[in-house]
Each structure stands twice: as C-alpha cells, then as structure tokens.
Symmetry: C2
Subunit: 325 residues, 2 copies
C-alpha cells in the first residue's frame, strides 16, 4: 500500500493545519525589517510541517474538540524547529536546505544566529500566552535537552569510539525530543494526561526511527530525494549508526578506514566507506533498528482509542519507514 | 567622592550575592561534558555581575525580606546575559572579552552557538520554576525585544543614515531591556507592583546611559580600562552616538570621512575620525546625553522609600557615569 501524506495523514486535520499556518506568520511579525525578512524566508522554506501535523493529530486522537490552543502550540513547535534548523545551518556551514539557500548563506552567520535567537524567544513568548504551567515546564526542560543533544553531537564529532548508546542520546535530543513535545503538549492541552505517556513514547520512538532512516539515506540516497548530498555526515566526521555498526562488524583494514574517516572527516574515502557500510551488514542492522523503533512507536499508540486520527499517526510512522523500503 | 563598587554598591546584598553565585553554577550543570566546560568558562569570565546586583538591590529596595526567589532570578538574569554575550562574540567574531579568550575562540563558533542556546533554554527552565505567570510574560516578551535590538543593530551596520532614534531603539533592546527585566522582575517577585514602573524607568535610563558611555569609551579609552580596543565599533561600521552626533555637527570633508567610515567599516581613518569626533563636540553631546539619562534614572528612584538599598542603586548609576568623568 502506498501512503500519501496529504490524503492519509494530513486530511483529517487539514482545516486546522491551514489556520495554524497563518498563526506561524503572525508569530514572526516584528518591527525590525530584517527579523521579518529572515524569519519569513526560513519559515517558508519549511517542509511538510510534520511536527505541527503530529501535534494536531495527537490532539484529535486524545478526543479534543476545539483545537484553538493546539493550533497555536503546533505553530510554536514549528517555530522552535525552524530556530534549531537556522542555528544548525550555521553550525554545519550549510548553504542549502531542501534545495533553498539557508539564512546564513542568504544573509550571513551573524543574522542567522540572532534571528534564530528571536525565533526561540518568540516561541516561548507565545507559549507563555497558552497559560499552562505543566506545558511550560515540559517545553522549558525539553528545549534544554534539545540543546544538550546538539552539543553532544558536536562533542562526538570525529570520535570513532562513540557508542550506540551515545548515538541514541544524540538523536533523542536533536530529533525525537521535539516530536515528543509536540504530542505530549497535545495531551496536556487536551486535558487527557493519561495519554501523555503513550504519546510521548510514540513520538520518541518515531523520532528515533526517523533519524536512523535519515542517517541511512546519507549513505544510500542522492541529492534529489533528500535535499542533501550523500556523504554529508561523513564529511563532518559524524559517527552515525551506519558507521558505528560498520565498526562493530569489521576488522583489519576495513575497520581502520571507517575509524580514520570518522576521525578526519572529509569524503576522500567516501566510495570505500559506502561499500564497507553496505557489505558489512551495517545498513541491514540500521534498517532493523528503524523497524524496531517504528514497531515500538506503533505499539504505544494502542493505549489510545481507535480513530481516523490515530490511524493517520500510524500512517505517518509507516510512511517514514517506507523511505528505506 | 569616589564610589567603590564593593563597599558602596555590593555590600548591602553581599551575602545574597554569594548564594546567588552558587546558584549560577548549579544552573549550568549538564550531563554533557562540553556543555559544562563551555558554560563554566563563559560564566566565570563574567564581570561585576551588575545585573544580578541590581536585581537584589531592587528587591531589598522594594522591602522584600526573604530573597530566596530573587537570588534565583538574579542568577537567571546573569545566565541570559552570558548567553547573549556568547552569541555576540560569535556575531562580532571577537577573540577576547574582558581579557579572556571567548568561547568561539577557545572552542569554535558551532560550540558557542549551541551552548548559548542551552543557556537561554536553561534560564527559561529555571524561570518556569519560579512559577509566576506575570514574571514569565515579562521575560518572554523582553527576550524577544533583546533579540530584535541585536538584529536592528546588525541591520544598521554600515548605514550612515541611522538616526539617533534608531540608535536609542538599538541600545534599549541590546542593553537596557535586560536591566529593566532585572529590576521589574524584582518588583514582581516582591509583591510590590507599584514599584515595577519606577524601577523599570530607573533601569531603562541607567542602561541607556551605560551604553552611551560604553560607546564614548570606544573613541577615548584604551584596551586596559575597557577590555576592548579603541575603534572596535568603527571597525565594524557601527553607527553609534559619537558618529551620529559628529555627522550632525559637521559638513564638507569631515562629514564625508565619517559617512565613509560607517559605510565601509575598518580603521584606516581611525585617527582622523577620533579627531573629528572630539573637535566637533560630538563627545560633549554624548556626555550630556549620558548625564541626562542618569538624571532620569535617579529621578525615577524617588518613587521608592529611602533605604541603603536605594542609595546603593543611586551609587551604581553615579559610578557608571564616573567612567567618563
């Protein structure tokens, strides 16, 4: 079965999604022209807005009727996500994201750093307006963990001894935590605290699967499907799961090539590294792990009543997994 | 009369200040070693901790007895201040701050951006723990304005047509707003909302004076007294008040030299620019404006009852002004 994002995932919340999108644009309003221009540029460069969609679906799956607050929360989450992308692009010195010039490339690093700061602050400002202390605490703690995950990733760059556990800590912070906030936040605002834990588990495992798949694609995809070049992670000496697994599965020269590639970065050995990652069974292991994480995500959803919204969340998890199938 | 920071300003809140300092160190605790190392480095590089001192003095001046919450707030403010410095140093590509290597110089831009993000998030996380919605709203709005001030400054770089009003908007955002948060926050936590407005005015005008003085010193000081080099602002083409005022007071060749220096940046004409800033009366005007702002700050304090704490705030404003006397 082919899953269609618009039809099988977005449709049940399409009208709330459209209203949410307007709210993002209101949120980035500023008296400072440069703040507006950059914010508009980066927000418009957004992709499928998966996090807001997940938030709205989770709200409906909790039985929420009026999504007014959830729409605001979904917009806030997308703003936080955009802010981290803007800073990530500075950190990674990226010139393109999803085929469009990044903020640091269009303007400069300075502008990107400061507008990223503005987006974080504005997201918190809008969050405070939702007037929910439990929600606020979840988000303030969560954003700390996101930043820590990003720094842990930086700390692990060029470190061939990075363990799978450290890798999981990194991707939980940099990717899964925000998905968790999107669904946990929906449960909190819906007044259904009993669904907070299962939705957090769903989103956490979904995020892990999503990131593992992204890291697989960095060794198997091309620019067209992913919007980034094959070998980007290797270039930066990032010890992602394909390399960690390849190190486990190899000895001798092959092992040394992977170690050295992580330690030095660069793509001089890219073709050999790709060959080793494939022949060593590392990609098979990564696919298995992504499938396990997806299964765990779907499992967690059993705690929620059956509905078209829960089904859309299931479809989303399966669609993500289809990227490597 | 010579004002001594320790004796005449810090002394009345010295013990609360010491406890506050410990709280900053607890606040920057993280499981990620690199987060800890960088946070410790930048927090220890702190100067007089003027903002926390002001917060504690304002609390006592409001009649607060137990400063437990205020100490936490003071620490949060210093963390926010540190975060903006860390990002500023990335933006300005600074290698030294107060004679110590910056985070971007010691580690790299990437680390500085992400640890700055962590400090902002942690500051908000600790702020949420204070469990006061009015305080939270003040801070979430305030940090947006701070970021906007920073971007406005960037937008005005190399713009010789920048007006004095735009300059005031810039320094209100980048400097005065955090001073305002420090004192307003103290009034909110003290349960004395009637002092919020006068304390905000005090801190706002104090901040303006403080920044104008800083901008004067960039054309009159030397590295030893300021910890930065003369001509730093000119180097970056920043249209600060000394240059805006010099443009108003000059015509012909002198006027053109200043315009060109702002437009191009660099210090090729530094000596001539300094001579023009001095001979045109621009520095006199800046000193007058700093004095007026200080007077307005002191005036606002009249709304508070006389106390040794209010006196210490008066001393602080006078000490800042003494830097150019």
């Amino acid at each position: 079965m082919t899953i269609d994002f618009k039809q099988d995932i977005l449709a049940p919340v399409a009208s709330d999604f459209a209203t949410m999108d307007k709210f993002i644009n209101e949120g980035i309003t500023s008296k400072v022209a440069l703040v507006m221009a950059v914010s508009k540029h980066v927000v418009e460069a957004g992709g499928k807005r998966m996090r807001p969609v997940m938030c709205l679906l989770a709200a409906k799956a909790c039985g929420a009727d009026d999504l007014e607050k959830h729409r605001k929360l979904a917009a806030i989450i997308e703003m936080l996500h955009t802010a981290t992308l803007v800073h990530d692009d500075v950190v990674d010195e990226s010139g393109l994201r999803r085929g469009r010039p990044t903020a640091n490339a269009t303007w400069n690093n300075q502008t990107a750093v400061l507008v990223g700061d503005f987006l974080i602050s504005r997201a918190f400002d809008l969050l405070v307006d939702l007037n929910d202390m439990v929600l606020l605490k979840d988000f303030s703690t969560g954003t700390c963990e996101i930043a820590e995950g990003e720094v842990l990733q930086l700390q692990s760059q060029h470190q061939p001894d990075t363990t799978e556990q450290t890798y999981l800590n990194i991707i939980h912070g940099k990717t899964s935590r925000l998905f968790e906030l999107a669904t946990e936040g929906a449960a909190i605002l819906s007044g259904t605290p009993q669904y907070r834990e299962p939705l957090r588990k769903f989103a956490g495992h979904f995020g892990n699967a999503f990131q593992i798949i992204d890291d697989i694609l960095d060794y198997t995809s091309d620019a067209e499907t992913l919007g980034k070049n094959i070998g980007d992670d290797l270039m930066e000496g990032k010890p992602t799961l394909p390399l960690i697994s390849a190190l486990k599965n190899t000895t001798g020269e092959e092992h040394e090539i992977i170690r050295r590639s992580i330690a030095t970065g660069g793509t001089a050995d890219l073709e050999r590294v790709i060959a080793i990652v494939q022949s060593s069974g590392a990609l098979d292991y990564c696919s298995l792990r992504a499938t396990e994480e997806t299964d765990a995500a779907l499992n967690a959803l059993n705690a929620l009543p059956d509905s078209e919204y829960r089904q859309a969340l299931i479809n989303l998890a399966n669609l993500a997994l289809h990227r490597i199938q």
